[in-house]
Symmetry: C2
Subunit: 86 residues, 2 copies
Amino acid sequence: MQEFLVKNLGYIAGFFTTIAFLPQVLKVWRTKSTKDISIWMFLIFTTGVFLWLIYGLMIINYSLIIANTITLILSISILIAKILFK
Amino acid sequence: MQEFLVKNLGYIAGFFTTIAFLPQVLKVWRTKSTKDISIWMFLIFTTGVFLWLIYGLMIINYSLIIANTITLILSISILIAKILFK
């Protein structure tokens, strides 16, 4: 039961930190305004998420692979918006 | 050697996704402008990072505890800036 709770807390936490980027993606593509967004944040973050994905693939951990694939797509969407809309 | 590389890749990835939030913190506190930042992103993200920290404490994983404590501080700083500077 304790182990079940602990395991699921990891999944819930991962769900939150993954899905969090969706409202930011929707906002930048709707408003086409990215002035207050730090390009360095999303350059460094996207690099980190890509490395997490490689790490997930190397240790064959499906939670890491799925969560980081989704986050990578969302993070790259924000990065593209930042580059297109100054 | 392979194991050494794999283990360190996790640390490097964690370093990138943690430190990424620092330029965004500096930007919002310097410009006092947060119009383009999604409050939902940082509300959901901060909740997720808090849950990751609890998870790290439950399974006693120091990488998770250290990385998520730093990210939590940075994420809350952005959230406070977003609330203060509309």
